[in-house]
Amino acid sequence: MNRRKPQNRLKAAPPPKPAARAERRPRAGLRAWREQHLYSFFSSLGRLAARPWATLLTLLVMALALALPLLLYLGLGNASQLHGDMRDAGAISIFLKPHLDGAAVNALAARVRARPDVETVVVRTPEQGLEEFRNQSGFSDALNVLRDNPLPAVLLVVPRADGARATDLAAEFGREGEVDLVQYDAAWRQRLEAILAVATRTAQVLAALLGLAVLLVIGNTVRLDLLGRAEEIDVMQLLGASAGFVRRPFLYAGLWYGMFSAALALLVVALVEWALATPLQTLVASYDHRFSVRGLAIVPALGTLAAGATLGWCGAWIATWRHLARVPR
C-alpha cells in the first residue's frame, strides 16, 4: 500500500458551491485577469531571453527591414526642406536691357507692380547682382578684375497664378521694349515636385511592403514557437485553458519582437546618421548653411516603436488563430 496512507489525511473537501463562486466573481475575475496578464508578460520575456542568439538574429532581420523605410522618410524630410528653399524659383526673372538707367527701371517696375496678376516685384540693381554673384559663386577674385559691371538690372516678379497663366505672363513681359530676356523655370519646378511625389509614394509603398515582411517574420517566428510547444498547449487546453490564456504569452512575445526590433531599427538609423554626419556637414556648408540636416525627431521615433509593437501583436495573433482552431489530442 502507499507508504504515506493518503486516505487517512484526506479532508472532506466538497467543491465550492456555485452560488458562492458567483458572488466573488467580478473582483476576483479582474484580479485573475491581471495576474494572468502579468504572468504572460514576464514568461514571454523569459522565453525570448532563454534563446538570446536566435532572438537577436530575428530581431536584427526585422530591425533592418524597419530601418530602410525610416531612412527613406528621413531623406525625404530633408529633401522637401530643399524644395521649400526652391520657392524663389517660382519667380519670373526679367533681365532688362543693359545700360538702362535707374529711373526707367523703376518706371517699368511700378508698371508691372500695378498689374492685378502680379503679387510682388523686387528690383535688383546691377550693383546688387554683382555683390550677390561675388558672394555665391566663389569667383570674387576674378570679378575684381572687371572694370565695368556687365550685369543688367533684374526684376523678380512673383505671379499670383501658377502654371499656364504664369507662362502667358512671362511671354507678355518678353514683348516689353526694355526687356532683354525673360526666364521662368516653371517646368523645372514642376519636375522637382513630381520627383519628390514619386519618391514619397515609393517610400510609402516600401514601408508598407517591409511592414508586411515584419508582420510575416513575426508571424512565422511565433508559429515555430507554437509548434515547438504544441504538447504544452495541448495539455493546457485539456486542463481547461481558454484560447485567450493559451494565446496571451504568444501575443506578448509578438509584442516584444515588434517593439525590440523597432528599437533596434532606431539604433540602426542613429548609426547611419552618425556615419553620414561629417560628409553631410561638408555638403551643407557648401550651400552656405541655407538648410540643416534633420535627424529623427522624438514623435516619429515613438511612432516607430508603437508601429513595431502593433505589427508584432498582429503577427502573433494571426499565427495563434489557426493553431488554436485544432482540438487537442
Binding site: M1, Q7, A13, A32, E232, L239, G240, P328
Partner: protein, 225 residues
C-alpha cells in the same frame, strides 16, 4: 454526476466507436470501464472531456448537457473535470510545483492560495517536499502521482483516468488505485478506463464492460457503494 443517454459515436471514417450507450454514475461513485482495445473506452472518456461530441444521444456531466455546450464554454466545463493520462502528460521543462499549479493558474486562482493548494494536493499523493524537482528526476510511479495531484488540485467533482496504471508494475498500480479509491470516498466521482482485469477485480467496484462500442455488462459488486 455522469449520465449517458443512448450515446452513439461514429467517426468520419465510418467506424462506429460507441453504439446506443446508456449508463449513469452517482456522485462519489467509482467505476471502471474495461474491454478489449478498440472497444470504445477512450472514446467514452473523450466524450466526457469534450474532446469529441457524440453523433447521437446526450452526455450529461455535473448536470450540464455537453451536447449543447458552446465552443467557448468548453474550457470552463473542462475545468470541472480532473483528467489523468496513461503517459501522465506532465510538462517536462517545468518543476513539479509548476505542473500542479497550472490548472489553478488557468482557473485564475489567487497567487497566495495557489501555493497552499498545490502543497495540499502533493501531500495527498505523498509527494510533499518534491515541489522543486523536475519531473524527469522522479520515478514513473511518482510522475503518475504528480499527474494525479494536478488532476485533483482544483477539487473537481469528476475525475476521469485513461489507463492510469498502464505503464506501472502491479505494486505501484495498486498504490495508484488506492489513491483513486480515497478520492471517491470524499465525494468525487471517479471513472477509470483500464484493461487490467486482475486489478479491477481486487478493487471490487462497479465495472462497465464494452465490446465493439456496446455496453455488454454493468457489474455491481455486492456491498459496494
Amino acid at each position: 454526476m455522469i449520465r449517458f443517454d443512448n450515446v452513439s459515436k461514429r467517426y468520419p471514417s465510418g467506424q462506429e466507436a460507441l453504439h446506443e450507450l446508456s449508463f449513469e454514475l452517482a456522485q462519489g461513485e467509482m467505476a471502471f470501464v474495461t474491454g478489449h482495445s478498440g472497444a470504445g473506452k477512450s472514446t467514452l472518456l473523450r466524450l466526457i472531456a469534450l474532446l469529441d461530441r457524440p453523433s447521437r444521444g446526450r452526455v450529461h456531466v455535473d448536470g450540464q448537457d455537453l451536447a449543447h455546450a458552446r465552443r467557448r464554454a468548453v474550457p470552463h466545463l473542462r475545468r470541472r473535470l480532473g483528467m489523468v493520462f496513461q503517459d501522465h502528460r506532465l510538462l517536462m521543462d517545468r518543476t513539479v510545483y509548476d505542473n500542479v499549479a497550472l490548472p489553478l493558474l488557468i482557473a485564475g486562482v489567487a497567487r497566495d492560495e495557489i501555493g497552499k493548494r498545490v502543497r495540499a494536493s502533493l501531500d495527498k499523493v505523498g509527494l510533499l517536499g518534491r515541489e522543486g524537482d523536475a519531473p524527469v528526476a522522479l520515478s514513473t510511479g511518482e510522475q503518475q502521482r504528480v499527474g494525479i495531484a494536478r488532476a485533483i488540485v482544483t477539487k473537481p467533482p469528476v475525475l476521469i483516468a485513461d489507463e492510469p496504471t498502464g505503464n506501472l508494475d502491479p505494486q505501484l498500480s495498486a498504490e495508484i488505485m488506492a489513491l483513486f479509491g480515497a478520492f471517491c470516498q470524499v465525494g468525487t466521482t471517479v471513472l477509470i478506463a483500464s484493461h487490467d482485469l486482475a486489478l479491477i477485480k481486487r478493487m471490487n467496484q462497479r465495472v462497465l464492460v464494452l465490446d465493439h462500442g456496446r455496453l455488454i455488462d454493468d457489474y455491481r459488486p455486492r456491498g459496494a457503494p
